[in-house]
């Protein structure tokens, strides 16, 4: 469904992503793990057009998407829930969702989805008319995911969905991600909580300083200790 081939992302003179290749099959839940600055977010941002790759190809369902505009990529069904959630705080909860749904051609189905999401995330239903800026971190993350779902994603890219959330809320978010997979939405998730991510992911890639240093299923990647040593690098 998604193939990334020799992707290079540069910011000025710094090469954040140094020619990585990875793929995600339809129906999979794939985790992209690694320490801060490994180039995980840059990889996702390149997929949706937030950054222009220096070189390499990104193919989504047979179409090359590298260099496309974000507003065009999202219409293909390749949807990013960005790091830090980036909720539009001056809009109401409902407006955040409506804005995302505006790209859909079938408005009736979109509004039906909106109602369904407000039921599925009851807190959003309660706060539908309030400014999104009044939501707590966990609630905002639910809104961020619900907003992505309003875009009718075929492949959902989740960037650090649990960053900065309380442990109980982290459980809730992982629960939502598992539900999404069960519903048939393909997910590529960047996550700092490697252990938890591996519990629910089919496969994972491990990145460090812009390159992929490991990949496989949870068993293949080894236990948490093995992963941590891979994060920190040999000898540390």
């Amino acid at each position: 469904m998604l193939q990334i081939d020799s992707l290079v992302v540069r910011y000025g003179g710094i090469q954040a992503v140094q020619g990585i290749s990875l793929e995600v099959q339809e129906g999979e839940l794939v985790a992209l793990l690694g320490p801060n600055g490994a180039g995980k977010s840059s990889t996702l941002n390149a997929c949706v057009g937030l950054v222009k790759p220096a070189s390499g190809r990104i193919v989504f369902e047979g179409r090359e998407v590298q260099g496309m505009k974000p507003e065009d990529v999202v219409r293909l069904g390749l949807v990013l829930t960005p790091e830090g959630r980036r909720i539009l705080t001056g809009l109401t909860v409902r407006e955040n969702l409506l804005l995302a749904g505006a790209i859909r051609k079938d408005r009736k189905a979109m509004l039906a989805d909106l109602d369904r999401l407000l039921e599925r995330f009851p807190i959003l239903g309660e706060r539908a008319g309030l400014a999104a800026g009044t939501l707590s971190g966990g609630e905002a993350q639910q809104l961020a995911i619900a907003r992505s779902l309003m875009c009718a994603p075929r492949l959902l890219l989740l960037d650090e969905p649990t960053l900065g959330l309380a442990p109980k809320v982290v459980d809730q978010v992982f629960g939502i991600v598992e539900e999404l997979r069960a519903e048939g939405i393909t997910v590529l998730m960047v996550e700092q909580n490697a252990v938890r991510a591996l519990e629910i992911a089919d496969r994972a890639y491990v990145m460090r300083t812009g390159v992929i240093v490991g990949q496989g299923t949870a068993e293949e990647l080894g236990d948490a200790e093995g992963l941590i040593s891979s994060y920190l690098g040999a000898g540390s």
Binding site: V48, P70, R75, V79, P82, L88, E95, L99, A102, C151
Partner: protein, 296 residues
């Protein structure tokens, strides 16, 4: 008492014009991050279009429609030709570009028409006035206040109730996040410039009814400076702040002109700009200014 009410009406009228102007400047800033100093030239474009159509013998109603359309088209073209290439450049580059555009447009009118003022004949009724209990209200003031109220209401409805309004509010807050949700960058930017042009065009009509139709190449400079001052007072990036700032500026100007001894009324603008300097120093975010942009 009548004197006070008279001055309040004057303040409302002048403030209305400033509010419209400031709103047009603020809407582009909130979405595009540019204080467009060529905004005044949109007024000039509207005014010269009215001059041209009056030479062609068109009635006033068609003149003002043509003028507003010209300002809208001029604003959108300005963005396409001059600002799009520097969209991702440094803010300083964008501001200098806007000065360049302003000078270029002024020069075009100087070369093709004249550096000297011309007059667009205004309908006779604009020079009449209504007397209400001892207060004299000129017709142009009634027009100005009415048009401003209608424009502000329509603008609020547009931003709150329409799809493009929603997209614009989203883009103003976080352009990147809005694009991730499918908001088309080019479309909202064009919409912002079109609205800005619309407001400049409407303001041009009101300015001409007040001045008796005087048109000259540098006529945009005064209004854009006043609009800039208004958005600084109200809080740069806040639309309601821009409107509030416009009214405060209008009232302050009227109060200074009425209150200062006649020998120093020429200093009124000087006093106003001094107040702005104090505001910038003591409260850089303005009265309604917030970190997030475009609160309606």
């Amino acid at each position: 008492m009548t004197e006070l009410i008279q001055q309040i009406v004057n303040g409302l009228s002048l403030g209305s014009t400033y509010a419209l102007l400031a709103l047009g400047l603020a809407i582009v800033f909130s979405i595009f991050g540019l204080v467009n100093f060529a905004y005044g030239e949109l007024i000039t474009i509207a005014a010269y279009t009215m001059l041209l159509t009056s030479y062609m013998g068109l009635p006033w109603t068609l003149q003002i429609i043509a003028g507003v359309l010209a300002a809208v088209v001029g604003s959108v073209l300005m963005e396409q030709i001059a600002f799009k290439p520097v969209r991702n450049a440094d803010p300083t580059t964008m501001i200098i570009t806007s000065f360049g555009v302003a000078i270029a447009i002024q020069s075009i009118f100087t070369m093709t028409v004249s550096a000297r003022p011309r007059a667009v004949p205004q309908p006779d009724w604009t020079a009449t006035s209504v007397t209400l209990g001892g207060i004299i209200i000129p017709a142009y003031q009634i027009l100005t206040i009415t048009v401003t109220v209608v424009a502000l209401v329509l603008m609020t409805v547009m931003l709150k109730k329409t799809r493009i309004g929603l997209s614009m509010r989203a883009a103003a807050e976080d352009f990147g996040a809005a694009r991730l949700l499918g908001v088309r960058a080019n479309r909202v930017v064009s919409a912002a410039f079109a609205l800005s042009g619309l407001l400049a065009g409407v303001a041009a009509i009101l300015i001409l009814t007040r001045t008796g139709g005087v048109v000259e190449p540098t006529m945009g400079l005064g209004p854009v400076l006043k609009a800039f001052v208004a958005i600084v007072i109200g809080g740069i990036g806040s639309l309601s702040g821009a409107v509030l700032g416009g009214f405060i500026l209008g009232f302050a100007e009227v109060a200074l002109r009425a209150g200062l001894p006649s020998s120093v009324t020429g200093l009124a603008d000087g006093v106003l700009f001094a107040v702005v300097v104090i505001i910038i120093i003591s409260r850089p975010e303005g009265i309604l200014g917030v970190k997030q942009r475009l609160r309606t």
